[in-house]
């Protein structure tokens, strides 16, 4: 990634955080202004409405231009050469917009980047090798993985990070011991991704990419060790290449191991996530506990579905409310570094954290309705920079 884009991303993170602090009433307008002054925005950005429109119409224009190209200049699209040329053209346009034109989140540059990756994938799929359906699929996976990885590395868009992760595991499924490869790759990728997602050296978009890849790896690991996936040969069925023995049933020992790991992996993720305070593992653990409970019912119908759903619902409600009460009853309404309150993302629901700050500064808590002018000059409680007057 270009250094100036990385710097712009870092400054954007700080500005976003400062706006959240202001929105929730922790800092005043003046403090926000001082933060924005220190971390200025040198990019041209569109908001969500314009971004969507610019994205849609750039994609429409791109498709129409390529259509015209094929009408006038290339009557034999089977070679894929034109597609590759257009992929290069759209890559150049993306570089132009993100570089000299300093556009980020403006829609058009995302559309040209997407068009470049899609055309490179299509060009790689139809332009090289044999003409059988399996060959096409293999080439699609390989060229898609290469195009998405390159685009993710260069431009850092989430869609490419997601595509690279999914296509990478789909490619691994084409190899002989697909299940083992999934387990090995995921077990290797998860710690790397968790570390990469917190590494200060990485750009914010790269850190987000590590989170996305980490989430995909957790799901791939669970998919590979899951008992139903083993019984149904789900991973092997993703392969387009027919392999002998790929549909063989697992041995009793393997099935027992799969049973055990299906049951144990989600609580293990929860435990590790809790100890490391890692939201990705925690949320994956909660999600997969549900999946494992559903799996138990799939194999052992211990009770009618209606009763099971009622019990699961009651368990979810009890756990949710229990967790809420337990966390809120802790010192400063937190336990082990966890809180039940949303942090700096909703003005209406941050009374607890507000109270913590108020307690820390030995002043009465502010009202729930935030977003009022926080700076009160001339002797504000915390002084310097007019940081706040909210907690006086």
């Amino acid at each position: 990634m270009r250094p100036e884009i990385v710097a712009a991303e870092r400054a954007r993170e700080v500005r976003d955080a400062a706006r959240a602090w202001r929105r929730t009433g922790f800092i005043g307008e003046e403090a926000l202004g001082l933060v924005l002054e220190r971390y200025p925005d040198d990019r041209v950005r569109f908001g969500p409405g314009f971004r969507v429109l610019a994205f849609i119409f750039t994609l429409i224009a791109s498709c129409a231009l390529i259509g015209l190209w094929f009408v006038f200049f290339d009557s034999n699209p089977q070679t894929g050469a034109s597609l590759i040329v257009w992929a290069v053209v759209f890559s150049g346009l993306t570089e132009l917009q993100r570089g000299p034109m300093r556009r980020v989140g403006a829609g058009a540059e995302s559309a040209t980047a997407l068009a470049a990756a899609a055309l490179a994938t299509l060009g790689g799929t139809i332009g090289f090798g044999g003409g059988s359906f399996n060959d096409f699929l293999l080439r699609f996976l390989a060229s898609g993985f290469v195009a998405c990885s390159a685009a993710a590395w260069r431009w850092g868009d989430a869609i490419f990070q997601l595509g690279a992760g999914l296509l990478g595991f789909a490619l691994l499924a084409q190899a002989g011991p697909a299940r083992l490869l999934w387990i090995g790759a995921a077990a290797l990728a998860i710690p790397i991704c968790l570390a990469g997602a917190r590494l200060a050296r990485n750009a914010p978009s790269q850190r987000r990419g590590f989170m996305i890849l980490g989430a995909i790896s957790v799901l791939a690991l669970y998919g590979a060790i899951h008992i139903w996936s083993l019984d149904q040969h789900l991973v092997e069925s993703l392969s387009v290449v027919a392999r002998e023995g790929s549909g063989s049933d697992g041995s009793k020992g393997l099935r027992a191991l799969s049973f055990a790991t299906t049951a144990l992996l989600p609580p293990a993720l929860l435990l590790i996530g809790w100890r490391r305070r890692e939201p990705l593992l925690l949320y994956a653990g909660i999600l997969l506990v549900g999946a494992s409970v559903a799996t138990i019912r799939l194999y052992r119908e211990v009770m009618p579905l209606s009763l099971a759903l009622c019990l699961i619902g009651a368990a979810c409600l009890t756990t949710g409310l229990g967790l809420l009460r337990w966390l809120r009853s802790g010192p400063a309404r937190e336990r082990h570094g966890f809180t039940a309150d949303p942090l700096l993302d909703d003005a209406r629901r941050t009374e607890a954290v507000r109270s913590v700050v108020a307690m820390a500064s030995f002043t009465p808590a502010a009202q729930a309705q935030a977003a009022r002018p926080a700076f009160e000059g001339g002797g504000g409680g915390f002084g310097g920079g007019g940081a706040t007057g909210s907690y006086q």
Partner: protein, 325 residues
């Protein structure tokens, strides 16, 4: 959110005396991942709990319907809905015309559960005992009024949107029996479209009135978005086939352009998107019919899209609030 960049910035801002030590400590802990919120997980658990419990209860009643009898089921579901709504009424703060903060983490879920259970109970009673007989579409109107009352009393935008969609559903279902008498010259499809148009206009007007009267003004976006979608959809219905294709295309172009223009002036970018898309659709479908062959159409689409992208870049300066946040 965990962010080493924010953590570093917090240290710098504390050094520059922009942040106080207390603020810096809190913001730094969050940025370094030393304080993590489980709010989303708790809300997800509560939501899943409500969904699983209501689905399980529904299945249970369906299985036991022969043993329990419809009257018992109706009473039990009604009692459950009453319990939920009673808790909501007890927990809720007094009514105000403005926006109200949620008094409890489970408030919105219990309110939604109570409202849906009550509406489901009404549907069950209608299906089993047919109290409304041939006038059964009025069931939707009843549900709409019920949701509307709850939404205003307990300040729920979700229920307000449900009230509007139930009302639109009532007009859609009832139109064939009521409007046939009034507009006998129209077919069923045209009658439904006419209803959608009137409903949409009514929603837009209602939204504006709410905003003007400062009475639950924050409900206005839900009303105007749904209203304009209904209006544009009812017009777009006729651009492809039917006796008045031309006027419909012209109407879609003009209404879309008008909506885009007024929402641009008012800084309503979501409506601006609706308007631009509608106007473009109406305009392009008219032009593509006039142009001969695929090449001309491709050329037209390419040129118009590029012009539109540059136009958007030019006008976006008028939406300062829309730039980054």
């Amino acid at each position: 959110m965990i962010s080493p960049d924010v953590a570093a910035a917090v240290t710098r801002l504390e050094g520059d005396r922009v942040l106080t030590p207390e603020q810096a400590r809190l913001f730094g802990r969050i940025a370094r991942g030393e304080l993590v919120s489980l709010s989303v997980a708790i809300h997800a658990l509560l939501y899943l709990g409500v969904v699983a419990l209501t689905t399980g209860a529904g299945l249970l009643f369906r299985q036991e319907i022969a043993n329990l009898g419809p009257l018992t089921i109706a009473l039990v579901v009604g009692a459950a809905a009453t319990l939920c709504l009673a808790w909501v009424a007890r927990t809720s703060p007094a009514f105000t015309r403005g926006e109200v903060a949620s008094p409890h983490v489970a408030f919105d879920y219990v309110l939604g559960l109570g409202a849906l259970l009550a509406a489901g109970d009404l549907a069950f009673i209608e299906a089993r005992f047919s109290p409304l007989g041939a006038q059964w579409p009025f069931h939707f109107l009843l549900v709409s009024a019920f949701y509307l009352a709850l939404s205003f009393r307990f300040d729920s935008r979700t229920l307000f949107a449900l009230a509007l969609t139930s009302f639109a559903a009532w007009r859609g279902v009832a139109s064939t029996s009521v409007e046939r008498v009034l507009f006998g010259f129209l077919g069923d499809t045209e009658t439904v479209r006419l209803n959608a148009l009137v409903c949409g206009t009514a929603f837009v007007v209602a939204g504006r009135e709410l905003k003007r009267a400062r009475f639950k003004a924050h409900f206005e976006p839900a009303a105007s978005h749904l209203g304009w979608l209904l209006v544009l959809q009812s017009i777009a219905w006729g651009i492809d086939r039917g006796p008045a294709v031309g006027p419909h295309r012209l109407a879609l172009t003009l209404v879309g352009a008008g909506l885009a223009l007024f929402s641009w002036r008012g800084g309503r970018f979501a409506l601006f998107v609706f308007g631009v898309l509608a106007a473009y659709l109406g305009f392009m479908i008219t032009l593509t019919d006039a142009v001969d062959g695929a090449t001309g159409t491709l050329f037209l689409v390419a040129v118009s899209s590029i012009v539109l992208v540059f136009g958007l870049a030019a006008v976006h300066r008028r939406f300062p609030k829309e730039r980054e946040e």
